[in-house]
Symmetry: D2
Subunit: 314 residues, 4 copies
């Protein structure tokens, strides 16, 4: 049995050292340590890595980190909800989001045209700029062809963006498909709808995406899932790997709990009953806000893999 | 100021009496009481009611209650994820789900072909029967036409089902549209994909759904949201009402918290900053598992509205 | 295997009927159903029932219900924190608490001399009246003797109170000991301290309480725990039963989760590793706010036991 | 308004750099950044710092870090529950705890004499060794005097221990009082009780502790609270500062939520209504498991204060 070890501060401690010590500290710190091991192993074993995240995370500064992970080829498939697409584009065209607080005066904010997401703020203007940009984008897309799967469309958009910190840009550049199973569930959907009003033959073919999902890996590939938060993004990654025999590795990082039976709170253990994750798979659930737990874990993984020459520091 | 009142047991107490007493008890019991008030008001004011729920709730016995609510015309629009569609159909064609427990041996379950959802169990056979059924359904749909919005398709399927307890059946019969913004995110998506392989011109037009969403109410309508759980279902209801000027009433019942900034945990208060809910709207967030909180609240609402002659007991 | 059954509204449904249906619905509703079974069994088997709750629950209207449970002899030992004692007395001497809301202006409340507990409010005046009352009480206690265990002192205080809805009163009248392992942790502690300044030989002997805890049941007794919330109250009940061989029945109702390793979130399953609960014991954990889950479960138990003639309706 | 900034990995990133970047990332990462600021300010302003933690945290490797914080004089008063005392002593006399997992076979563990705390394990033997040690300790204490306040007793015990990583040892050596408001709520209480059986005049005077709490700071002192988790420990720190005019700074790090009205989940905002925290105080609530959030925040504080020459690296 592994012993619990007392931790101590040493000046200037590095993230990867701290995380190593946390792995013998207790509770979620131990699970975080296991997550680092599991993700490092996925990459060492050349697994296809399905990476999922929710829109609120792209509102945060994790957005640039996600783009960097794609650039470093730490992930092979990205899956998210449409708010992520919208906000990634807003930032790419120069909009900024702001730090607010959870107990803000929401009616007051509304009067000022400011929208709150937890302790973050997005101005209405950012949505307006996004609208103008999208009109132009949709025209260009339509000029090229009139039927797209979601992943095809998102790749085309990524190629139009010039921002190193953009998820769409890095995904397009590095051939990482982005799945977005509920593409109409947001402002983006509204713009698609308005455009289709004048261009009846413009079709977003979601069923075609399914082929891309199936062929995103094979039964023979080792497959890993890194799911941040829950929702359809997490479910779609599970579906994608299940169709190819189930995942060999899985790390779920979430604030949801299993007690209400939601998929968002479903553990990696529950996933084994479905064959979503193989019986013998390496699987870890870390409970906590990913704005803290994910950079901590993933930067440790990158330090380790960089030492091993598996990834290259920028 | 309203006083906290001590509650007492009286033999044979009715749900609606208890809930009335709970409204001056404290904490979430008070919020539950407010939710009852708010939902009753929505109906009295003839608001268009957007009702959202997640798939795991359809795994439970709430499924029959949801169908009953549609039958009673307590809701005008239903929004959910694709697992709900799958499981409603499974039950309609005679499959049963079972009670298990949270700490089951998942690898053992997998070997027996049993899938776990929290403390509930679904057999692989139920998915197999669903598959056969769907093949037949898709053939019939295609015979009729080759391009459907999701809501159109779900209505057609509902008309084929003969089960009083089915959500799809009651929705079709009572002209309540069902939105499902991520229709491909499940076994259903796989069956659509397989069918499209042999019928290339078969199209599910998700953008067309957007029109249905926009026209599901008007700026002039009073609008209410009852969101059980979070995810794209909740977000889509917010989007649907936002497009028509924002909701006048909102009840969110969820286990998620606002601290991680997720939409699932976003409160009705936060929604006001967006104009998702009008500044002066009546809005309540109840934290807890809806398998308990929702029947408690909603059955109280039904008792009240039935007394007022607004709804008719079956 | 037990099947999941669809639930339906019927006008005027009783709490005990609803809870019975919930037990085959799913998720926490199922656990609530099990809790009802388990508590009914405790009583049928004549187990010594250890009942624990936290101070915030006594701020709510559950206070009168707790007193009623003691009066009905549904519990044999009560364990809580000192805030419960303070607030039970405040209410007994005529003070009222009020309904507020979670997002109140706390600085504004402070200026008005109002203290917030979640969505409930307590005026400073209530603390002042409590202080005057306590001065008198302590004088009377000291006249009688100068060394008390906590349970002895609380019994004496209970005998001075004349309020049917008071926990202290019903406990004293019905010989149910109240344990309060951190008696000084509140305004009560301050009053004890001030009194001791002038009466140096006045001693609260907490170690003596331990004897009372040990002798509160025997190895031969069947023993049950009903723990609402966590903290030292829950821990003390576990300790009390562990000293006598472990509990035969346990129902934990809480909002805390096991992931951070806290005792508050520790499950009945974990308790078996300690022998806190016997290996073969009947044990249930229900996640949710007890302001809703407890009256629902316990009123169902009372209806059932009343039908069986085990308890008498008032 | 402060802008959200994209974060990026750089090889070998230090904890304090990462935390600085997290403070403009979003959600709990932002609150963590504020907590670092707030704690650094407490120390710079020479505030009396009340530090609270729960027993389960001492089961983890945080125990050595807590001892180090006392040694570095980062805290002036420590408050905890009795399990912390027990486990600190066990480790000081050479016992080890072990890493297990949350879904262990608890009945199997019980048969092997192993007790589970979340994903950690404590052997029965550790409790047996603690018992022998305590018998000796109590004899020595009694030889010296027969009436102790809890803080006096814990100081005497600390002076007997020779372990640099022990909380009790460092507290005794550095004159940091340890309050433990429910001293009998554990094995320690049982040993006190057994000893008192043979030494009737041996008294633990909990009321006397109250004087120590009151005089632990003055109205003129700046006062800060760092509360990890909830329970009586957190409440006692609040009480201690409230008696002296309320805290000027407060950092709560917890997994509990405010919705059920518990003190464990009560926010720093709610505390202002009570005057527990001054209206203008600097106050932060960070939601998450402290096994991760606390070392991250506190090691950053130490790096910063060490750079400023306010504390000295060991």
């Amino acid at each position: 049995m592994v012993k619990v070890k007392d931790i101590k501060w040493k000046k200037g401690v590095r993230v990867s050292e701290l995380v190593k010590h946390l792995s013998t500290t207790g509770f979620q710190a131990v699970e975080l340590g296991k997550a680092v091991e599991c993700i490092a192993k996925m990459k060492r074993e050349n697994a296809k890595i399905y990476f999922t995240f929710t829109s609120n995370m792209v509102t945060t500064g994790l957005r640039g980190f996600f783009a960097q992970l794609i650039k470093l080829r730490m992930v092979d498939v990205a899956i998210t909800t449409v708010g992520s697409i919208e906000e990634d584009i807003m930032k790419a065209i120069g909009e900024d989001f702001y730090i607010g607080n959870y107990s803000a005066d929401d009616v007051g904010l509304h009067e000022k045209g400011i929208n709150r997401v937890g302790n973050l703020l997005i101005r209405n203007e950012s949505y307006e700029k996004f609208e103008s940009y999208m009109l132009d984008v949709l025209r260009k897309l339509y000029e090229k062809q009139n039927r797209y799967s979601v992943t095809e469309m998102l790749k085309e958009i990524g190629l139009m963006i010039k921002d190193e910190n953009s998820i769409l840009y890095q995904a397009a550049k590095n051939n990482v498909p982005i799945f977005c199973p509920a593409i109409t569930d947001g402002a983006f959907g509204f713009h698609l709808f308005m455009f289709q009003q004048d261009h009846k033959d413009f079709i977003i073919d979601v069923v075609k995406d399914f082929a891309d999902l199936i062929f995103s890996s094979t039964h023979d590939d080792k497959k890993g899932i890194i799911a941040l938060g829950g929702g359809v993004s997490k479910h779609h990654a599970i579906l994608g790997t299940l169709l190819n025999g189930g995942a060999d590795y899985a790390v779920y990082m979430t604030t949801a709990h299993e007690y209400s039976g939601s998929l968002s709170g479903a553990t990696t253990r529950e996933a084994k009953s479905w064959g979503k994750i193989k019986d013998a798979a390496d699987a870890v659930t870390v409970i906590g806000d990913v704005s803290i737990t994910f950079p901590l874990a993933m930067m440790s993984v990158l330090d380790i893999l960089s030492d091993e020459g598996i990834i290259n520091e920028e």
